[in-house]
Symmetry: C2
Subunit: 196 residues, 2 copies
């Protein structure tokens, strides 16, 4: 039988596509999977908690962690830094628990190289118009930042081929069900030399 | 985007492991997937219907279909013949519908060669003792036939590596959920040149 080491799942997608909501829902329904808490330099949003949503860091603190090789991946996105602390993920994996990383595209690329067994899921909006609407409604950022994020989103969509799965967040319930299905099915997967 | 052609799912596992029950349950919960009706030379069991459960054929009729190349796969199992009529599967696939084949190991091997994109699921009992108990309780076969099926089951388990997924039918609800998850997740899968 396979070793009891856990699996790494990566959920990536444009800002505003609904990653956070989907993650919240799936953790209520799936056992033995833990969310990796990222470090970030972006400002804390209302309701967010240190150590639960993120580890909030100054740019100086973040750079020191980079220099000390404390990240599994890290990336700059829309002027802020985001990173996945290594110890977090490795602790869970070594206990046979799965870990979900909710990260940006640059980070997902690093994970694909460093953890070739990681399962990469891309969450996409049904249309760019729907994404724009969602970002504006969220009211957490300026119009300029929304524009930056939309431009980035269009570039990201070109790199879907790097991912193993594409989930379209059109109807939320279906998107949640699909992400859960990916996790459950990958737990049943038989590792092979060559696989379609 | 990918062509709208449907996907082939193959569900294989020892007799008595519960394939029929799982198939019945999943068809109540998943849309756009159709069960391929096999032809067989085995005797009709109580409650089974022609064209619904199987196409019941004499050995002569079956052999003629083999000679006329009318099967996608066919196999002998415990003295009887089973086969998947080609037209059935191809009709659904060409309409963009998925097709589930509930077939024996020999047939699954043929499908793997003829349809390299087919997704192969092996359904296994939690233990051989559990399988024996289930076969005896079913009371559809003689003690000798049960022994033949058990011996065959042990040989089949050695070939799990041919399959993409392994689902253990310990708790029925979980097994059903896992098979459904495999179908839903494969629909989200991005086809790649090399895939882990």
């Amino acid at each position: 039988m396979a070793s009891p080491k856990g699996k790494v799942f990566v959920l990536t997608g444009p800002s505003g596509v609904g990653k956070g909501t989907i993650v919240e829902r799936l953790f209520k329904k799936v056992n033995n999977i833990y969310l990796s808490v990222s470090a970030t330099t972006r400002e804390k949003r209302e309701g967010e908690k240190e150590g639960i949503n993120y580890f909030f860091k100054s740019k100086e603190e973040f750079k020191k962690m980079v220099d000390d090789n404390e990240f599994l991946e890290w990336a700059e996105f829309a002027g802020d830094f985001y990173g996945t602390p290594k110890f977090y993920v490795n602790n869970y994996l070594s206990c046979g628990k799965d870990v979900l990383l909710e990260i940006e595209l640059q980070g997902a690329k690093q994970i694909k190289q460093k953890c070739p067994d990681a399962i990469l899921i891309f969450l996409a909006p049904p249309t760019f118009e729907a994404l724009e609407e969602r970002l504006i409604k969220r009211q957490t950022e300026s119009v300029e930042k929304v524009k930056v994020r939309l431009k980035k989103a269009k570039e990201e969509m070109k790199e879907i081929k790097l991912f193993h799965y594409l989930v379209i967040n059109d109807k939320l319930d279906e998107a949640v069900e699909n992400v859960i299905s990916i996790i459950l099915s990958e737990r049943c997967r038989i590792k092979q030399e060559t696989q379609n």
